[in-house]
Amino acid sequence: MIGPCIGALCRHGHLVAYGFMASTGTLSTLLMFANILLGSRLRGRRGSFYGISALYQKDPRPLREDLPKVFALLAKKEINPMVARTFPLLEARKALELLAAGGVEGKIVLESSGP
């Protein structure tokens, strides 16, 4: 689904793709990256890939700078994380089954009643 996204951009627009979830195999992942990085350039746009964990493993400082800003927005209620469902921490499996089944509009959070 990268192609239509590139097409939706104006010329010199910037496509930022993140995560790996949309691809299902090595070949499709390679094609996706080729489309993000080369396809967008051939069509006069820019493409970038971004993975939060890749960046974080390399250097935790950017997230250490950015997360307090997100928390500040949360404290001011300028963002709403839309927690749709909560489960007890040890029922992680049930929560994941619900996520896999789909249809949850919002975030699922586990909550601990432990020590």
Binding site: L89, L96, K107
Partner: protein
């Protein structure tokens, strides 16, 4: 030391018999020597959820520069399925406790830890460990949660909002007045992108 690196699976009932022993000689052991966790016990794959088991683990001691946190809330997301599948780049070796993003309370400090105190509420992008009641990680991973922000909300924003914030501000370097299209896969992320683009 991390919880995944020294796993001891206690048989069912071992914990309660230990507690019974404590009742006889309460001075010999601390009140809680184990904690409960949902562990990925074997290689995952499409049926990875079948490999999740509730286990008792020994409470880990924080080493130098490390912090032990009592987990209060853990976010669930699609990334968990990649971790459970066993092929995730940043996942540890089996068996381990998954759980990507947490909010919790500082429980114990190792030596050489500055800027955090016991009882403080903190959040972290743990990548693994969040499905357990406790975890130990380097102090540099924990950020204070401000008053007025619930554990639940804090745990919910680390990965999704952290990703959206960094994608907007660090990668795209979006500026006020620019037009953005967010073709995200989930409603969660749509709310992320609309709320985060302003500041």
């Amino acid at each position: 030391m991390t919880i995944d690196s020294r796993v001891v699976r206690a048989p069912e009932g071992a914990y309660s018999s230990a507690a019974a022993h404590d009742a006889v000689a309460p001075a010999e052991k601390p009140a809680t020597t184990t904690f409960r966790a949902v562990m990925l016990t074997r290689k995952g794959g499409p049926k990875a959820l079948d490999a999740l088991e509730v286990v008792d683990l020994p409470v880990p001691e924080p080493g130098p520069g490390q912090v032990r946190v009592r987990v209060r809330a853990t976010g669930i997301g699609s990334t968990d399925f990649m971790v459970l599948g066993g092929s995730y780049r940043y996942g540890p070796k089996l068996p381990f406790v998954p759980g990507y993003e947490i909010a919790g309370v500082v429980d114990a400090l190792g030596t050489e830890v500055h800027g955090l105190r016991v009882g403080q509420r903190v959040a972290a992008l743990t990548v693994y460990g969040g499905f357990g009641e406790m975890l130990v990680r380097g102090a540099e991973h924990f950020l204070p949660i401000p008053d007025g922000v619930s554990d639940r909300d804090a745990a919910a924003v680390v990965l999704n909002y952290g990703t959206a914030y960094q994608a907007i501000h660090r990668v795209a370097k979006a500026k006020a007045g620019q037009t953005a299209l967010a073709r995200w896969s989930r409603a969660v992320s749509i709310s992320c992108s609309t709320g985060l683009a302003d500041p």
